[in-house]
Symmetry: C2
Subunit: 332 residues, 2 copies
């Protein structure tokens, strides 16, 4: 296990120590629970709070999107494990500036359960809440069961748009509507070239031979839709972008944002090679890319591989992507 | 070879294609040579040009620091290979806004040779030039041969400070002086946990067993100063920060900038664990960290590992770090 760690059981807490030491101007821990991170400039009275969260090991997801024009608070779970409902509730209290709280997170069973419990308790405390669950991974289920899909890197688009809406003073219903619109306009698909290793487990989460790839893999190593010999980058890109374009029914005149995301160990040089052919494919379809993002936006520890996320834009979403944002991991 | 690439011989050019497709607002290729990237807003009359360059495979180094408040142009070599003197010369012509050109780059034989040839030719064309070679890797040579040290991630600090000085309108001599001051105030040291694989070679650049680490490794896999069993992150951090602090003679009252840099495959969670103990050590020495940077600033393809860079600050360097900057890979 080639990791720069100390006690595996302390992995998450020591990572949080480092983060809070590095960025006190941007982030702070809730006094009630150090596994709840909030914007350093809280409270923001009159603004809708956005709460996210989930398992650790995916930086910048989730806590890396706590910041100005992004999320307000994040509940931080163990590696690949949901935070507790108590942590989501504490994040809710911290994020509430009197205008209510939107839960915005990826579709995983544990997170859904714990957010729903937190939402019930928050409503009992008089905090109005809404929930938008992002299910962007087209590999995880067919279109007729789209609600069963996992949430992966496309979550970034929903954070960016909803965060900008909250920042400009939209109401809870408006922010929730924008988050829902962004989520419904977004699809993703990934390819894995190697497995991640959980610090406390010490062995790969799955086995993939050298020279093999897994198309449609999840960010916890969930099985994909195709395993076979590793293909050239352009062929892999066609598999990913082809599936997304079909599912989104992209066509001439569409405007999109594109995120080519590294899963952890894949160099940025390769992400730009994937972006190159993504553009060729979309150009061929008559689709205009207005907002490209290339880098590590949602990782799976040291997994090698990449994902492509595409959001169909309307004028409002495009404007919200352009709005300022700032966290330790993302600036606009 | 678990890489998302097409023809290995086309790796660099396809990466550049993707980069230019993604960031036409920030970067453009020189009409004379596509392996020369320049700021999209050139020319910038009256401003000192800063030219950098080197082998590919280290993103964001080198071309990722072409941007506002950073470098003006970069010559792009093959993977781990110097660009030609003709490419450095073309970058010089492109970067020249009438106030002369500073070469600012890392200490590698091929780059030094080719920059010197380009500088001679540029002077013949009437372009005044200066050169500052960054030699920040304390593992590469003892203090009495500090000029023999390699240039690694600490180059970022010199780019940031010199770029800000050029942007505010400093003269060529002033920008060169600031770059030199930043370079002399900076030390780095890294640890490798796995080797990179060159696309055209297809096998690791060196062999490192699972459970081993190499302290003092270079960003091309150059041998370090110690190979042995992988130690806990805090012990590794003590080796790196201890060597740097001794070489820089850091002591009570010093103010520093710190960069914890990922070499490619190491998750950002681990970088924050390294930053945590870096802070503990510096706090113990009475040294104040004013500018922390954590992320991938200078990589070695998919090498696992990290490096720490520390720059001793004075008031001018601190102000220059705070100045605005923007490239596809770095924003301030």
């Amino acid at each position: 296990m080639q990791k720069l760690i100390n006690d595996p059981e302390r992995f998450v807490d020591e990572m949080l120590d480092g983060l809070l030491l590095a960025h006190p101007d941007l982030l702070k821990a809730s006094p009630a629970d150090r596994r709840v991170l909030v914007r350093a400039d809280l409270p923001t009275p009159g603004r809708v709070g956005i709460v996210t969260g989930g398992g650790s090991g995916h930086l910048p997801v989730f806590l890396g999107y706590v910041g100005t024009g992004l999320c307000t608070a994040a509940a931080v779970g163990n590696v690949f494990s949901s935070p507790s409902s108590a942590q989501f509730l504490e994040a809710t209290r911290a994020a509430n500036g009197g205008a209510g709280v939107l839960y915005l997170y990826g579709n995983y069973g544990g997170d859904v359960l714990n957010v729903d419990l937190a939402a019930d308790a928050a409503e009992d405390e008089g905090i109005p809440t809404r929930s938008v669950v992002v299910s962007d991974d087209v590999a995880a289920a067919p279109p007729e069961r789209a609600d069963d899909r996992r949430g992966v890197a496309g979550l970034f688009f929903a954070y960016k748009c909803a965060g900008a809406a909250a920042e400009r003073g939209d109401s809870l219903d408006e922010v929730a509507k924008i988050a829902g619109t962004a989520a419904e306009a977004t699809r993703s698909m990934g390819v894995g070239l190697s497995a991640a290793i959980l610090p406390t487990v010490g062995r790969p989460t799955f086995e993939l031979q050298s020279g093999e790839m897994e198309i449609g893999i999840g960010i916890h190593g969930e099985p994909g839709v195709h395993r076979g010999p590793l293909e050239p980058a352009d062929a892999v890109t066609e598999r990913l972008v082809g599936a997304i374009a079909e599912d989104l029914q992209l066509g001439t005149g569409d405007r999109v944002a594109v995120l080519v995301n590294g899963l952890g160990a894949t160099p940025r040089e390769e992400l730009y090679i994937v972006y190159r052919h993504t553009r060729h494919i979309l150009d061929g379809l008559g689709v205009t890319v207005e907002h490209p993002y290339i880098g590590e936006y949602a990782t799976s520890l040291e997994m090698a591989g990449a994902s492509v996320s595409i959001m169909r834009l309307d004028a409002d979403l495009a404007e919200l992507l352009d709005a300022p944002a700032r966290s330790p991991f993302f600036q606009r």
